[in-house]
Symmetry: C2
Subunit: 147 residues, 2 copies
């Protein structure tokens, strides 16, 4: 088990989170998502997280609702409130929340301040490498006992 604080530290640039504003157009927001090759943008208003814009949310709200991306505001299709984790939570807490609620992104917040964003890909990489490490350690131990 690793804390969210440590997990964030292991990212290349933990505090870089791509974001948009509630009054931006969906067209501008999805342009940014494509440029940065990300699947979600946090929606910030005066520094506070007020929602999250996801690919799933865009498909459901924009395409099924037959809305024009230049004439739709981010706040009309974002998901809110946003589920988040705190630095003391563990990677397993995050994975349980993502699997249970079918989320692919979790912001990390402390005292109302945004510290970073974890994706399901970040967690998968981390859990697999952590478990591989434990397996290696146990195997070394067994070899040591026998040797």
């Amino acid at each position: 088990m690793k804390s969210v604080a440590l997990l964030l530290k292991s990212k290349a640039d933990p505090s870089s989170v791509w974001s948009t504003s509630p009054t931006d157009s969906v067209f501008n927001a999805v342009t940014l998502m494509a440029q940065k090759n990300v699947g979600a943008l946090l929606v910030l208003e005066q520094g506070a997280v007020v929602g999250i814009l996801t690919e799933r949310g865009c498909v459901r709200n924009m395409l099924l609702g037959e809305r024009a991306p230049r004439n739709t505001l981010v706040r009309e299709v974002m998901s809110a409130p946003v589920r988040y984790v705190q630095p003391h939570h563990t990677n397993e807490d995050c994975m349980a929340l993502m699997t249970d609620k079918r989320l692919r992104h979790l912001p990390v917040m402390q005292d109302g301040k945004l510290l970073g964003l974890l994706s399901i890909g970040d967690l998968v990489k981390d859990i697999i490498s952590e478990q591989n490490f434990i397996i290696q350690q146990l195997e070394h131990y067994i070899v040591g006992e026998r040797g």
Copy 2:
């Protein structure tokens, strides 16, 4: 390491794969995606896999291209050709391919026949439970050696 064949067997209903056709409208396809709560549909033509329609593909092609979902055909926005795996591949082969190519879905094919579809969620669940099992076995072994 587990084979894709075994991995498919562990799914509740391994052969149920939601699909659409190249000449269906994107509107109908995303309606099905929402009803079934899935993030991708395979595109089939006379039983053969000719493409895959993903949420990412819909966002990029439909919203950035400002296309009307009722007037756009699935074949205009699907991804093709489709990367797939065969039953003898392993869960680790799948994860490497998904991480490397940034895919969330992999069809399983044999001799041109579709056997099922694996999502990144299926793989994550499997790898985590497999690694937990190995760790438990090694821990039991160590307790046995010492006891």
